[in-house]
Chain length 416, copies 2
Amino acid sequence: MKAEIIAVGTELLLGQIVNTNAQYIAQGCASIGLNVYYQTVVGDNRERIRQSFSLAASRADVIIATGGLGPTQDDLTKDALSELFGLPISIHGPSMEKITAVFQSRGIEMVKSNERQANVLEGCTPLANDNGLAVGVALTHEGTHYILLPGPPKEMKPMFDQYAVPWIRSVMGEEASPLYSKMLKFAGIGESSLEHRLIDLIDGQQDPTIAPYAKEGEVSIRLTTRACSEAEAERKLADTEREIRSRVGEYIYADRDVPIEYELVSMLIAAGRTVALAESCTGGLVSEMLTAVPGSSAAYRGGIVCYTNEAKKELLGVPAHVLEGEGAPGAISSETAILLAQNAMERTGADYALSVTGVAGPAESEGKPVGLVYLGVAERGKPAEAMKLQLSGNREAIRLKAAKQALYVLWQRLKH
Amino acid sequence: MKAEIIAVGTELLLGQIVNTNAQYIAQGCASIGLNVYYQTVVGDNRERIRQSFSLAASRADVIIATGGLGPTQDDLTKDALSELFGLPISIHGPSMEKITAVFQSRGIEMVKSNERQANVLEGCTPLANDNGLAVGVALTHEGTHYILLPGPPKEMKPMFDQYAVPWIRSVMGEEASPLYSKMLKFAGIGESSLEHRLIDLIDGQQDPTIAPYAKEGEVSIRLTTRACSEAEAERKLADTEREIRSRVGEYIYADRDVPIEYELVSMLIAAGRTVALAESCTGGLVSEMLTAVPGSSAAYRGGIVCYTNEAKKELLGVPAHVLEGEGAPGAISSETAILLAQNAMERTGADYALSVTGVAGPAESEGKPVGLVYLGVAERGKPAEAMKLQLSGNREAIRLKAAKQALYVLWQRLKH
């Protein structure tokens, strides 16, 4: 079956918002084997909305629209379709009761136009809106299947997933062939280096498909396959995963979409251990990532942001002769990284400490190049160690990569 | 004039990427008074690309397309248009030279298909690609104006801004009536409270338009007007800005799109002052924001992330009897906020210190509700103060709002 997506809204044509709805719906269609051939955006104009549906009906079997279901005079999708099909608008009783009740409970007088949100096309299957007031519509007319969804993503997404997709699957019948996918999450390896080591697999991919991508300092690979059953999908995905693990398994920290800080906090809690941070060039980012994890207080002992040499001396006791003066290693050095980690561990009483010191840019520092970063790691009862990284990208990217790499270093140590 | 945007790429139809190009181009069109009536997405299919252009030509004066200019056999936009118009493809000499030179300089043998990136339609104006290899096209054919841009945003955006927009303005002639806009940035006030105080202006807006929005803990208002000259635009924008300032001026920290941490760092540097941080519930976020500003080492003295009570005691000397035990104020209290700020200032030698302690959620803490946050502010030679906030949203939103509010508190103090 062929599908089209129509997004209705002048704000999209003006570029005031980006059309994330189309992407979300497109992904949903792909996941059930429904092929999308076109996406269209049209403004809040009755005539042009009608023309868009008419054109879509001439080339697609399933048309999924979002937007234009709200209470205002600019919300015209249902009216346009009613005109196009010559089908009257009727009121969906349960939706109308819900709208009335919501206004009553808020103690606000309901403006008449709000009733429009209970409108449906006669003979349709209404789609419940669990996160808003405008009811959705599923309708088969002259052999073409239509879905009307609200525009706000927080209303659209659950309605699509919970009510529209099952309805579409039912009209697709045996044509619906679900996609199964699995995410592998990597740390400690860059995207290009990962791709390089898997290039023959990526280039030769057929089924499962192998899609690597990098986002916010993390690298992921999504494996996707189409299968008749979960068991078949699992078998196909497992074969590919095994091959990937045999080459780069040491960098895989999770087989689901989770940031490394969540994995690390879980491991620390399970081990009954805590970590402290001493951050120079990352400026608190590692601490921020760790404490973003709910429950992290059991694993995160404390952190010091020693962005300046003064702070390295005052807050973490790094001797001046290490930081400054001719022949000194300087703030950006393995010596400093080791002292920062060691002293952060001692001052906080943590079991481990990580330190990050380097040049995030935009300009070089101490005559050292942008992207040069030293990580320190301390562990109770062992000598602290440091490692050197040369990272690429702008200031933000270098900070992000350095922070993720520091988390990976501790993750790796805990794992072994 | 009417315009349409066509994005070419199967990855868009599959939902693998979001169509940010359409938004970018739509904004650009709006800014020169060019009305976009439709946006379309079509896959890498010659026949459907041709049909999309043919349809667009039947309803628009200007058609702006992105994608499908690359080297592979899936890059079909120029071929499809060549067929549709019966115009031969020719080679753009300078682009071909550039492509050859790039491969030579990299020491890689050039695959023949790369030559396709120098293709243009005969009689067109080639648009230089300063960030990639595929040359763009501007062409007027049978009274309709066409622009072909590459798909990767980092190539598309500069080509659009620098070469396509001037070309479009030239074909629009006097119809091009630029939009002027101005951003007002707010801190210390929530979006709904801001809207409430400006509701009559927002509801009654005509020209300039007044668009409030909230993103990443910040609230902004964009004023936009269409005018024949910059002087006229400035006059119109100034009238509206004056009215807004008379109501909520105290919360405006900038009249351009800049995060408050940039303003704060500039003010601190100008005043020759430094700040230190003691963060509990924000976990390093305020430090991360401040140190994200290049040059912040002159203003940011250091920070302590005291997420646990142990860290509050060990790293910042908060007495146990303040934090724990029956009748103690607890970690989430104005007493603790004041001690954290005071001690952070003293231990770092900074001129100011900020502290943040509160309940980011998901669960309550010390029997105190999610969203309750105390900010402390210390200043050399003055008694430290605390203030209480009740913030809404999830864990991430509460942390973000608390961090921005802390920055605002210091900004306000420096301003007065």
